[in-house]
């Protein structure tokens, strides 16, 4: 890996951390409404998967994957306006957070029904396949969503047609409050891959190197026409399910254990071992990401609040007129 690449990856980790921390602060200050789902602690997953994707590859992020939007190329200003529910957001205020995708960067907006994007990703991958396009679709989902039928139906179909799709499971051990032992009876949920006729793989989701290695294999396999991969990244969310959730269902000790495996700090240790001037890098990148987020907040706050009647727009491509 080149030094430039290593620094770029660090920039993404820090930008996501800064962006999400700021949203949490704004939420506490009552400056944003609606649900905020922090992915803090899981940054290495989205960076490791998205950083090498081509612009015309499609991603289907889950509700916690704000970082995937950024790494895939979404404009931070518009993303912040989206979170503020403003007119310059991807949904133009019709929904918030990650329900509005950014089609210009091949980012799909999810619904709140977890795992519901997997059949859509499979359909997209089917099109890539029949049109002989060497593009891939990345479908993110949580270990909790793996219990839904949508996930099964999508994987079964993708297995039959050997579709160029990566099923990327972020296993953070809790679906809201429900621990894995009440979600499934296996240790690694990716064991299920064998039942769909494709490969399952597990990696450490807090270790960027581990994610990159596993993701690259899965993406290359998909692009080469060798079919899907069920890639499970073990990780942990520092915050509750959403900002109002105090996560009392887990121990402080457990949280600290995972904080000691922090993906951003781990990368800093790596950069240090590479003999780079980590203090200088940290400061430089810190300033850069702060500026981006400051600008994004300023942009979002200046973006117009939509008018009530705009709720009737964008329902149909061919607007309905009644006589």
């Amino acid at each position: 890996m080149t030094e430039q690449k290593e620094r770029e990856l660090y920039f993404w980790l820090r930008l996501i951390r800064e962006f999400e921390d700021r949203i949490s602060t704004l939420d506490k200050q009552g400056k944003i409404q609606g649900g905020v789902y922090s992915g803090k602690g899981q940054e290495a997953v989205v960076v490791g998967v998205c950083h090498e994707l081509r612009p015309d590859d499609w991603i289907f992020p889950l509700h916690r994957d704000l970082g995937a939007f950024l790494v895939k190329g979404a404009d931070p200003n518009r993303l912040m306006a989206q979170i503020f529910g403003r007119r310059d957001g991807f949904s133009k205020g019709k929904d918030s957070f990650l329900h509005g995708g950014d089609f210009s960067n091949c980012i799909f907006g999810a619904t709140s029904m977890l795992g519901s994007t997997l059949p859509v990703a499979a359909g997209t991958a089917y099109k890539f396949k029949i049109r002989r396009e060497d593009r891939v679709a990345i479908a993110f989902f949580g270990e909790g969503a793996s219990s839904r039928g949508d996930v099964h139906e999508a994987m079964n179909f993708a297995g039959i047609y050997k579709l160029p799709v990566v099923f990327l499971c972020e296993n953070n051990f809790y679906a809201y409050s429900t621990p894995n032992e009440l979600q499934f009876a296996v240790e690694d949920v990716s064991d299920r891959a064998v039942g769909y006729g494709f490969k399952g793989d597990v990696c450490s989701g807090n270790d960027l190197h581990s994610v990159m290695k596993a993701a690259r294999k899965a993406i290359e396999r998909a692009r080469a026409g060798e079919g899907p991969t069920f890639l499970e990244c073990k990780t942990y969310r520092y915050h509750g399910h959403s900002e109002h959730d105090r996560a009392t269902y887990r121990s402080q000790e457990e949280l600290i254990t995972w904080e000691s495996r922090d993906p951003v700090e781990r990368w800093e240790v790596y950069l240090q071992k590479r003999k780079y001037d980590i203090a200088a890098i940290r400061e430089e990148v810190g300033g850069k990401v702060k500026k981006i987020v400051d600008d994004a907040v300023a942009f979002a706050e200046a973006s117009p609040v939509p008018e009530g009647p705009e709720a009737m727009e964008d329902l149909y491509a061919t607007p309905i007129t009644e006589g």
Binding site: G89, F90, S91, K92, K94, D95, H99, G100, G101, D102, F103, S104, F108, G109, T111, S112, M113, S116, T117, L118, P119, V120, A121, A122, G123, T124, A125, Y126, K127, F128, I130, A137, G149, D150, E153, A154, N156, F157, I160, E313, D314, L315, Y316, A317, T318, I320, T321, E322, G323
Partner: protein
């Protein structure tokens, strides 16, 4: 060209797939078998297995994959083998497809058609007889069409395939081979959102769609000497052709809505409410409805007849409102 209702569905798919290579078909047994009712017969042989896809038994996948294809520029037709099974794909329709354009602020559209056989009268029982249109007319972002004739079956399906929005297309299985009509050999569409005035009349407006259209037309002929019935075939349930309904009720002062879907919560209630709100002054009697009884689609012959608005009940309902 003399065709049955189901042949015209088959022709519409053939012609649209011929015309536009982004049109494709996904569903259970649509390829090798040609569909449980043979609606897709010949498509696999003509267009190949990449565009005519035999899916596993996965309605959620069928609809979800359809959305995934649509955002990549394809125009998938998604078959529910029986439209009763649409409940298995419900979330993908109402939360994924219907909100797609809206939640993306107009960045994309969702050109999918979800079609399948609906309706009772063929001893289908609980899970092969349903009329689920009201579930979908309640959802913004969807369009809902229900053809009653072979001409409309073809023209509405072509319009649905060419439409950039998700369209629920309900084909009545009772009509599949029971009606046969002359239709044009040339390409045509029936526009979505336009009702058909099947018969002009002065005494009563009967507003209907789907299978009961034929019972209403028979009643209109049989009763011609006593009651001059105006027959509106809605064809599209969402968006409603309110203009045609309004003009008719203004003329006759009496409105009877007939559908095979069950009464409570049916589209008839919506139409009745709107007539009451906007046309109160012109009404010469209460707005009335005839629909299936509020029970499940029972199997045994006498029970099925008891439930659905058959010829006898249609005639009786028309007499009742006319006499008011």
């Amino acid at each position: 060209m003399l065709v049955t209702y189901i042949q015209s569905i088959n022709q519409a798919m053939h012609e649209e797939m011929e015309r536009d290579e982004t049109v494709m078909l996904l569903g259970e047994d649509v390829g090798i078998l040609g569909g449980a009712f043979k609606a897709s017969e010949g498509l696999l042989e003509r267009f190949g297995s990449e565009r005519v896809v035999d899916t596993p038994i996965s309605e959620t996948l069928i609809v979800g994959a359809g959305v995934g294809l649509a955002i990549q520029g394809m125009r998938p037709i998604l078959e529910m083998q029986f439209v009763d099974f649409i409940s298995c794909g419900f979330d993908q329709i109402v939360n994924m497809a219907a909100t797609l354009r809206y939640r993306h602020g107009g960045q994309t559209s969702c050109p999918i058609v979800i079609r399948g056989p609906c309706g009772a009268g063929v001893h289908g029982g609980l899970y092969h007889s349903q009329n689920p249109e009201a579930w979908f007319t309640h959802v913004p972002g969807l369009k809902v069409v229900v053809p009653a004739t072979a001409y409309d079956a073809k023209g509405l399906l072509k319009a649905a395939i060419r439409d950039d929005d998700p369209v629920i297309y309900l084909e009545h299985k009772f009509l599949y081979r029971r009606i046969k009509e002359e239709i044009p050999a040339d390409d045509y569409i029936v526009p979505i959102g336009k009702a058909a005035l099947r018969k002009e009349g002065r005494d009563v407006s009967v507003i209907t769609y789907g299978s009961p259209v034929h019972a209403v037309m028979k009643a209109a002929r049989d009763m011609a000497s006593e009651i001059d019935i105006e027959v509106i075939d809605l064809r599209t349930l969402h968006p409603l052709d309110w203009k045609t309904i309004r003009e008719s009720v203004k003329k006759t002062g009496k409105a009877l809505i007939i559908h095979e879907a069950r009464l409570t919560g049916g589209i008839g209630g919506e139409i009745a409410a709107r007539i009451a709100e906007e046309l109160f002054e012109v009404l010469d009697g209460p707005v009335m409805r005839l629909a299936s009884k509020d029970t499940h689609n029972a199997f045994a012959g006498p029970m099925e007849e008891y439930i659905i608005p058959n010829q006898e009940k249609v005639t009786e309902a028309i007499r009742k409102i006319a006499a008011y």
